[in-house]
């Protein structure tokens, strides 16, 4: 009796093994598509299934209050610079955090927007709001061109293509006459907002930058929580399924890319007016890496993460300025540590501990 049972069990095991082999080989045929491979997506890493409350409203008000009182305690120029980078990181996060696309060339939109904005303000003599608009449109157009090329390839190729295109435009910036080559465009006039409000006053400029940042931030929040944003998240989770549901995912990805590039352009052009400088640093590849680092430290796919990340990285750069060359090494070490041990980032960890969505 017992022997017979064993034999039956063996047979069952044999069949299930055969079955699993079948399934295994079937799964493997599809494994060329990245979406079919077993992997931990960014969403699993960041928010998890334990989310219970959406604390966006409270957190946003807290952030606004902080920004309102901060200039009385912290050097305003530093705050303005940090806000520009925070907006830049939020724009970048829109792609990696919500569509799952890693752009390794976001310096392209940031840097070129800052060149055009600086050029418009200095040479064409435009008022600051028009100069910023010029830069933002530059980001938009460049995003449309680069995006329509890059979305033709998936996954890892996407990152390499965006990086290569950014490097190409870096060489253009190096060679073009109007960018000033190694010197960059210096002494950009801040001018008068709408021809009326003088921006050379540090506090006035701060208010303008804070308003631009908050508007950009709210716009990104709106995108993420719109039906359009839901489709983006669906693409991030499983692009094949989104396609089979009838979504033209390429178009969605392109629109998201252009939005991200445009907002990066807004950040870059504001930065050019604030610091009165556009230079090669903003358009070169280490800048693309820096924005990745800011977002990673703060938390991929969290809306407040990139803001915190930008502040953390900038404070670190200021504090570590005396040790000079070690900054790059430390940044590299943070990259490694974040990827190995701390993939949720600061905000992602806090959100997980408090079981809220941030």
């Amino acid at each position: 009796m017992a022997v017979g049972e064993n034999r039956g069990a063996d047979r069952r095991r044999y069949f299930s093994m055969k079955l699993s082999l079948l399934w295994g080989s079937k799964g493997n045929d599809g494994s060329k598509k990245p979406s079919d491979q077993p992997k931990v997506s960014i969403e699993d890493e960041t928010s998890g299934a334990t989310v219970t409350k959406d604390m966006f409203g409270i957190a946003f008000i807290a952030m606004t209050v902080l920004l309102a009182i901060a200039p009385f305690f912290v050097y305003p120029l530093f705050l303005m610079q940090a806000l520009c980078f925070a907006l830049f990181a939020c724009a970048f996060n829109l792609l990696i955090g919500y569509v799952g696309l890693l752009s390794f060339g976001h310096a392209l939109y940031f840097g070129w927007a800052s060149y055009l904005s600086a050029h418009a303000a200095k040479v064409w003599g435009l008022t600051p709001e028009l100069a910023i608009l010029t830069g933002t449109l530059t980001g938009c157009v460049l995003g449309l061109i680069a995006g329509s090329l890059a979305i033709r390839r998936l996954g890892i190729y996407f990152a390499m293509i965006t990086l290569s295109l950014a490097q190409m435009m870096y060489f253009f910036a190096l060679q073009a006459k109007f960018t000033g080559g190694e010197d960059g465009i210096q002494a950009v006039p801040r001018g008068k907002l709408f021809g009326v409000v003088d921006l050379s006053n540090q506090m006035t400029m701060y208010v303008v930058v804070a308003v631009i940042f908050l508007a950009g931030f709210l716009f990104i929040h709106r995108i993420i929580n719109s039906p359009f944003g839901e489709v983006l998240k669906a693409i991030r989770e499983n692009e094949q399924r989104a396609i089979s549901l009838g979504y033209k995912t390429e178009r969605y990805k392109l629109v998201a890319f252009v939005l991200s590039a445009t907002l990066a352009g807004l950040a870059g052009s504001t930065k050019a007016i604030v610091l009165q400088l556009a230079s090669l640093t903003d358009v070169n590849w280490p800048m693309s890496g820096e924005v990745v680092l800011m977002t990673l430290v703060g938390g991929l796919g969290t809306i407040f993460g990139p803001v915190i990340g930008a502040f953390v990285i900038l404070v670190m750069q200021y504090k570590l300025a005396p040790v000079g060359e070690w900054v790059v090494v430390i940044q590299g070490a943070i990259f490694v540590l974040c990827v190995l041990l701390f993939r949720r980032g600061i905000i992602g960890e806090i959100a997980r501990l408090l079981r809220i969505r941030l």
Binding site: L102, R153, I156, E325, V336
Partner: protein, 295 residues
């Protein structure tokens, strides 16, 4: 002397030679990237930094241990390859179950660390490395002067590329590798130690980068940023060629080097960007890359 399209032949063949030299490095590096990507599914962003490490190890061997070029050609790839094995064991191994992006980010961080340390101790200026005595001088081919060392670089890198192709496509070890790329679980079931195979593959790919670095040292000098400048171009080469085939990587690498060299003759302003422009065109016409299977 005849002229081609108003270009003196010395200039033309001179740039063609430089193109072939650059092409050998593109080929060696994109080959390493392709081999690593095939097994680990990771784009090794620190490939450029490891190429630079190869050159630095050669430089340090000469400075401190009086080991010359030929010794360095053997020792440097082994040393750097061993650090690659450590990196795979300590870091990369933990990432295989995650999204590919994390591998890229981690190796990017490693590249920053390696390059930062090199810059801290050796500054940004290039350190000269002498061409070995046995390869000094050159041949006058009538239409151009061919330095012996450059001829050696082209021939030897071709040899290494073909050797790698042979090992992967024609030997038993290569068959294991290809099988493990296709279906690691099944290959493991046959009693082959796949994790060790993966570790060695990474070490080998990194060693190839270091070998290229040693070969580059007498030509470009040894400097901390020599890798980061090159690696982005190599990424474009990889996008153009696709990482599916080894021969594809080699042919694309040499081909693009030559095209870049010719661009320097006819349209010097575009020589920095021509490879990226070609990448954009290839993406428009053949999104999967010249030799790639569809993405």
């Amino acid at each position: 002397m005849f002229e081609l399209l108003g270009i003196p032949p010395q200039a033309l063949f001179g740039q063609l030679l430089i193109g072939l030299i650059n092409g050998s490095f593109y080929a060696l590096l994109s080959l390493g990237l392709a081999v690593i990507f095939g097994m680990l599914n990771i784009i090794n962003f620190s490939h450029g930094a490891q190429y630079m490490m190869g050159a630095f190890v050669a430089f340090l061997l000469l400075q401190h241990l009086d080991i010359g070029y030929w010794g360095a050609l053997i020792v440097a790839p082994i040393v750097v390859g061993f650090t690659g094995v450590l990196i795979e064991r300590l870091f990369l191994q933990r990432l295989y179950k995650l999204d590919h992006l994390y591998g890229l980010l981690l190796t990017f961080g490693l590249a920053l660390i390696i390059e930062g340390i090199a810059r801290k101790y050796y500054g940004s200026a290039g350190l000269p490395y002498r061409v070995p005595d046995s390869l000094q001088g050159g041949q006058n081919l009538g239409f151009m002067f061919l330095p012996n060392y450059r001829a050696w670089v082209i021939v030897f890198s071709l040899f290494v590329c073909l050797g790698t192709w042979f090992v992967i496509e024609r030997t038993r070890l290569g068959a294991y590798l290809r099988a493990a790329t296709e279906n690691p679980t099944l290959v493991r079931a046959f009693g082959i130690n796949v994790p060790r195979l993966i570790t060695l593959t990474y070490g080998f790919g990194v060693g190839l980068a270091a070998l290229a670095g040693v070969m580059a040292a007498p030509i470009y000098n040894v400097s901390p940023q020599m890798g980061s400048e090159l690696i982005i171009v190599v990424f474009a080469v990889v996008v153009i060629g696709g990482m599916g085939s080894i021969m594809g990587a080699v042919v694309t690498g040499f081909g693009l080097g030559v095209i870049e060299g010719l661009t320097k003759v006819f349209f010097p302003e575009a020589s920095n960007t021509v490879i990226f422009v070609i990448m954009a065109i290839v993406l428009l016409v053949r999104p999967a890359g010249l030799f790639g299977r569809s993405a």
